[in-house]
């Protein structure tokens, strides 16, 4: 802990203290009659307007990890890393219509989680349980990764200790976060998101205008990056990447972007922010306005090339002894900006970790409470008991994430998050398609889920990464030639890569359809549908809407 960057640390600490105060004050902001209800604690009273929803969703979807990992991927692999841009371009047009239906039916029936909807739609506690578990398992490593983003910043500021001491600042930051989330619920990240997003916009705009002019212009930056990426790496003997896509990774690029887009709003935390909005018009406006963040993310991705040109070397993590690629953006800011501005940039990333971590822990807690605790452990739980249970669960979830980062190699979380994306995509038929049709049989959906998850995991397990010598879970790009259906290789010899999640989803849909047809033939009971056709069109000003937060 020798070379502490004091000016950066002081500015970081001041801004961090500011959001801490905001977090605790949030419990009194726009307060409903009680916080002892999931509508209030878990969904902020279901009354957020357009601006708050915009900041909340922006803070939720574009996380600190995204902000460090996307440029890091561009830094190391080139054009492939830019998939984040098409991903966030296509997601809003795709999601607009289903999100409206989900909001309406949840508003009418009082659903808080995607699994609540599945439970109501198919009357199947098993299917709902599968969806809830998938959601929790996919979200947990995502929370842990926010810590990776926060830690990258802390280490760049000189807090790069080894062992438990090195993790102490992280622990303190997360304990504070855990307490104000416990107290204020979704209102805390909603309020803090304002600070986070404004800081991020300032930092990115400055970075994207100032840095290229300082480093010789975009043309020079792209040419330097092309040259550097084209140099064969010592580990594999092949070039690390290129500034354009190759014949083999174009399909991977498109399917990864599409798969990620389809997965994004299946994550429970995205849905939490959608359900917290006041009405359909709020959601529509947001689907139009959220791409402002995509623009920022795309520009941020280019910082990977800027870092190459500036000659940035990733820091070595003193706790693991390995070079941490995620530090390249913080190191770039540290070396190119004056220390006070770097402090603001670091605070932006650091606070950027808190907002999604809070929302994700709330979403996971809601899932636990509604679909496991109330369904299986305490069937007659009152709304107060639900809220109490969810608050406790949010603490457990966050402490669990810290423990995972401190006790296990962070690489473990990164692997898990990669897996999580593939897993959550497998809930698409049960959650998203079910918004439109009840054609799929509940047993078909269960069978599809099992096959999608099982095969997805098998494929991920079999992917090595020669660049860092990992044998398994080395990435999400499957060479078509290695695809095996019970030993049959339909694309034998092909080196073209595709996103594993996408392949698993297709298998999932095929199996779900086949089992559906069989189940219908055999006239197996398909559960009772609690929802009515008009539920999917309800809006905020309808008469006789269910009151919010009433016991």
């Amino acid at each position: 802990m020798s070379n502490l960057q004091w000016p950066e640390l002081i500015i970081f600490t001041i801004l961090f203290a500011l959001v801490t105060v905001l977090g605790f004050m949030a419990s009194r902001w726009q307060r409903g009659s009680t916080l002892d209800h999931l509508d209030e604690w878990g969904l902020g009273g279901r009354k957020f307007g357009s601006w708050i929803t915009w900041f909340l969703l922006g803070g939720d979807l574009y996380t600190a990890y995204t902000f460090v990992a996307v440029p890091a991927l561009v830094f190391s692999a080139g054009a492939l890393g830019l998939y984040a841009l098409p991903y966030t371009i296509v997601v809003y047009p795709i999601v607009l219509l289903p999100a409206l239906r989900m909001w309406s039916v949840s508003r009418v029936r009082g659903y808080v989680t995607p699994a609540d909807f599945v439970r109501g739609r198919f009357g199947s506690p098993i299917l709902a349980l599968l969806v809830a578990i998938t959601g929790i398992v996919a979200t947990m490593p995502y929370i842990a990764l926010q810590l990776v983003g926060l830690e990258a910043v802390l280490r760049t500021m000189g807090i790069n200790g080894s062992g438990i001491v090195g993790h102490l600042p992280l622990l303190v930051a997360f304990v504070i976060l855990a307490f104000y989330t416990y107290q204020s619920g979704l209102r805390a990240p909603a309020l803090i998101a304002f600070v986070k997003d404004i800081l991020i916009y300032i930092v990115i705009l400055v970075a994207i205008i100032y840095l290229p002019s300082k480093l010789g212009g975009w043309s020079h930056i792209f040419d330097t990056a092309a040259k550097k990426l084209g140099t064969p790496s010592p580990a594999t003997g092949k070039p690390a990447g290129s500034i354009l896509l190759t014949a083999n990774n174009q399909l991977q690029y498109a399917t990864l972007a599409l798969g990620s887009a389809l997965a994004l709003f299946l994550y429970p935390h995205s849905l939490t922010s959608v359900l917290a909005s006041r009405g359909r018009s709020v959601i529509k406006r947001n689907m139009v306005a959220l791409p402002a963040y995509s623009l920022v993310l795309g520009l941020l991705a280019l910082l990977g090339y800027v870092a190459i040109t500036a000659g940035v070397k990733p820091l070595t993590n003193a706790a693991t002894g390995k070079a941490d690629g995620n530090t390249i953006v913080p190191v770039l800011f540290d070396s190119q900006f004056s220390s006070w501005f770097a402090g603001i940039a670091f605070a932006a990333i650091g606070i950027g970790a808190l907002v999604p971590a809070a929302i994700m822990s709330i979403a996971a807690a809601n899932l636990w409470t509604r679909n496991i605790y109330k369904e299986y452990i305490r069937k007659n739980a009152t709304p107060q008991e639900e809220a109490k249970q969810a608050k406790l669960a949010s603490l457990v979830v966050k402490l669990g994430a810290v423990a995972v980062i401190i006790l296990i190699d962070p690489q473990f979380s990164i692997d898990l998050q990669l897996i999580g994306g593939v897993l959550i995509l497998q809930t698409l038929p049960a959650v998203a398609l079910a918004l439109y049709t009840r054609w799929f049989h509940r047993w078909g959906l269960i069978a599809g889920w099992v096959v999608g998850i099982g095969w997805g995991l098998i494929m991920l397990y079999g992917i090595p990464n020669p660049a860092n010598g990992k044998q398994h879970f080395g990435g999400s790009a499957l060479a078509l030639g290695n695809m095996s259906i019970f030993g049959w290789h339909p694309f034998s010899g092909s080196q073209v890569q595709i996103y594993v999640g996408f392949v698993a989803l297709i298998a999932n849909l095929v199996v779900a359809a086949i089992v559906t047809v069989i189940a219908r033939r055999m006239k197996i009971f398909n559960g009772t549908d609690d929802t009515n056709a008009e539920d999917y069109h309800a809006d905020e000003n309808d008469k006789d809407l269910r009151p919010i937060g009433v016991h």
């Binding site: 357009s50 371009i89 047009p93 792209f222 174009q250 008009e534």
Partner: protein
């Protein structure tokens, strides 16, 4: 395709041809269209600025769909787009 019954509530699938515009942004997934270096814009290869352009195309498509498919004349007060706007939440 909408079916309105006497209680004025909407049921069934609401389909507007305008919704088809939402397909346009998906063109950004067809990588052979833009996977090339030139022509450059401000020194940025075509691959990059084309995709940035598509952010705008995505916004435009979604916005047109939003404007064209608004349900009935909205009866509620105009959204003032302010934090204060939320205060009325309790009164509703």
């Amino acid at each position: 395709m909408s079916t309105e019954k006497h209680d004025g509530k909407v049921r069934g699938l609401q389909f507007s041809p305008w919704n088809l515009l939402l397909i346009v942004p998906l063109l950004v997934l067809v990588t052979p269209l833009f996977n090339m270096d030139g022509p450059r814009l401000f020194g940025m290869p075509f691959f990059y600025w084309f995709q940035f352009l598509f952010v705008a195309i995505g916004v435009l498509s979604t916005w047109i769909v939003y404007m064209m498919t608004r349900d009935k004349p909205t009866v509620d007060a105009p959204d003032k787009l302010s934090v204060e706007d939320l205060d009325e939440g309790d009164a509703r």
